[in-house]
C-alpha cells in the first residue's frame, strides 16, 4: 500500500501492467547482481512498458530496440528508462515509488530526451499511473553542487499538454529539415538524424519560454551546443576578437528557424 498524503492529479492516466510486462521486467532484473540494481531495472522496465502502452493507444509508434532501457549492457551502467517515439525522439519514463517523492533525473538521462514522464507504479506492479511530464531542459543550467535534477510533481504538465507538445514537434520537423537542407545553411549543421529531432524540442522550449528578442542568441546557444554544428564550424577560429562570420550566420539560422517554427506553431494553436 502506498501511504501517501498526495493524490495524483485528475489529469493523470492509469494504465494496466500485464503479466508479460512483469515477466520482461523480471527477465531484465535477473541479470543484475545487487538487489538495488534489480529493483532499479525492474521499475524502469515497467515504467517504460506503461508509457509504451499509452503512446501506442494514442497512435504513436515506438521502438524499444534502440533504447538504453531495453539493453542489458546499458542496464549495468546506467539508470535509464528511455522510450523512443518514432520520428519525435526519446521520452524518459521515470518510475516514482511514492507520490510524496519528487521526480529525480540522474545525469545519464539529462541529454537527448525530448521530455520526462513521471510514472507511479502501484504496490503489486499491476498498474501504473502516468502523472505528467516536463520538456527537455538545458543541463548547463543545473546546480553543479546538486547534480541530480529533481522536479516536484506539482511542476508537471498534463498528458494533454504532452500530446500538444508532440504535435508541435511533428509540425516542426519538416520546417527544420527544409531550412537545414538549403545551400546556405546545410554546411553549418551536422546531418545526424537524432540531433535534428532534439533540435526541434530544444527550439520549442525557447519558443515557449523566451521572448522573441532573445531567440537569436538563445537559438545560437542551442545550435552551438553538443552535436549540432558541423565539425568544421565547431573548430572555427573565433580568437580574433569580436563576432566571427560563422557566429553571425548561426544566429541568422537560429532566428530564421524560430520564426518559421513560431509561424506553424501559432497556426496550430489557433486551430485548436
Amino acid at each position: 500500500m502506498t501511504n501517501s498524503t498526495n493524490q495524483p492529479s485528475e489529469l493523470a492516466i492509469t494504465v494496466p501492467l500485464s503479466t508479460a510486462n512483469r515477466g520482461q521486467a523480471e527477465a531484465f532484473a535477473q541479470h543484475q547482481s545487487s538487489s538495488a540494481k534489480q529493483d532499479r531495472v525492474y521499475r524502469n522496465t515497467l515504467a517504460v512498458s506503461a508509457v509504451n502502452y499509452y503512446l501506442q493507444l494514442q497512435q504513436f509508434s515506438t521502438d524499444l530496440e534502440s533504447c538504453n532501457s531495453w539493453s542489458i549492457p546499458n542496464q549495468f551502467c546506467e539508470d535509464a528508462a528511455d522510450l523512443m517515439v518514432v520520428g519525435l525522439g526519446k521520452v524518459e519514463c521515470r518510475p516514482i515509488a511514492s507520490l510524496d517523492e519528487p521526480l529525480s533525473l540522474p545525469p545519464e538521462v539529462w541529454l537527448d530526451r525530448i521530455g520526462y514522464i513521471a510514472v507511479h507504479l502501484n504496490a503489486d506492479f499491476t498498474e501504473a499511473t502516468l502523472l505528467g511530464f516536463i520538456t527537455a531542459f538545458n543541463p548547463d543550467e543545473l546546480d553543479p553542487d546538486n547534480p541530480i535534477k529533481t522536479i516536484s510533481l506539482s511542476e508537471l504538465q498534463s498528458l494533454d499538454d504532452l500530446m500538444d507538445y508532440f504535435e508541435r514537434l511533428e509540425l516542426g520537423q519538416p520546417i527544420v529539415e527544409q531550412l537545414l537542407s538549403t545551400p546556405e545553411y546545410a554546411p553549418l549543421v551536422e546531418a545526424d538524424p537524432y540531433a535534428r529531432l532534439m533540435l526541434v524540442a530544444q527550439l520549442e522550449r525557447i519558443y515557449r519560454c523566451d521572448p522573441p528578442r532573445k531567440w537569436r542568441v538563445k537559438g545560437e546557444n542551442v545550435l552551438s551546443e553538443g552535436s549540432h554544428l558541423a565539425a568544421a564550424i565547431r573548430k572555427g577560429d573565433t580568437s580574433g576578437g569580436g563576432i566571427s562570420v560563422d557566429r553571425l550566420k548561426i544566429q541568422d539560422l537560429a532566428e530564421e528557424l524560430l520564426e518559421r517554427l513560431a509561424d506553424v506553431w501559432r497556426q496550430g494553436e489557433v486551430q485548436q
Binding site: T19, H31, P73, C77, L142
Partner: protein, 120 residues
C-alpha cells in the same frame, strides 16, 4: 511509505504455470559466463578498438575507463567529477553520446549473434 523493494518472485505465466525464477538460474549464464562478465570482458579487451575515444583535452578519460568505472566500481557521477575535476554535465554528456552508444551496439551484436536469446 514507498513500495517494498523488488525481489525476484515466483510468478504465474500466461498458461497458468508457476514459474520460479530460482529454477531458471542457469539461464542467467551463457556458456557458464554471466552476461555481466561478458560485458566486463568486452570492456577490458576492446578487441575492436572502439572504446578509445576520450573526453576533449583529457586523453586518459576514455570510453573504456568511464564504462569500467561505472560498471565495475559503480562510482557516482559526483565522485568522478571531483576526482577528474570535470563538471558532471561534461562527463555525463560524454557518457551518453559515446559510452552508452557503444554499450547499446555491443548489446545488439550479442543479440544478433543469437547469444543473448537466452537472456531476452
Amino acid at each position: 511509505m514507498s513500495n517494498k523493494p523488488y525481489r525476484v518472485q515466483p510468478r504465474v505465466d500466461d498458461e497458468g504455470n508457476v514459474v520460479d525464477p530460482i529454477d531458471q538460474l542457469p539461464s542467467r549464464s551463457f556458456g557458464g559466463i554471466r552476461l555481466e562478465e561478458r560485458v566486463q570482458e568486452w570492456v577490458e579487451a576492446d578487441v575492436l578498438n572502439e572504446l578509445q575515444c576520450h573526453i576533449q583535452s583529457h586523453p586518459h578519460i576514455t570510453c573504456q575507463v568511464l564504462i569500467r568505472r561505472r560498471l565495475l566500481e559503480e562510482i557516482s557521477w559526483k565522485e568522478l567529477s571531483d576526482e577528474y575535476g570535470i563538471p558532471i554535465p561534461t562527463l555525463s554528456a560524454f557518457y551518453q553520446r559515446h559510452c552508452a552508444k557503444k554499450l547499446l551496439e555491443f548489446g545488439n551484436r550479442l543479440r544478433e549473434a543469437g547469444e543473448a536469446d537466452q537472456y531476452l
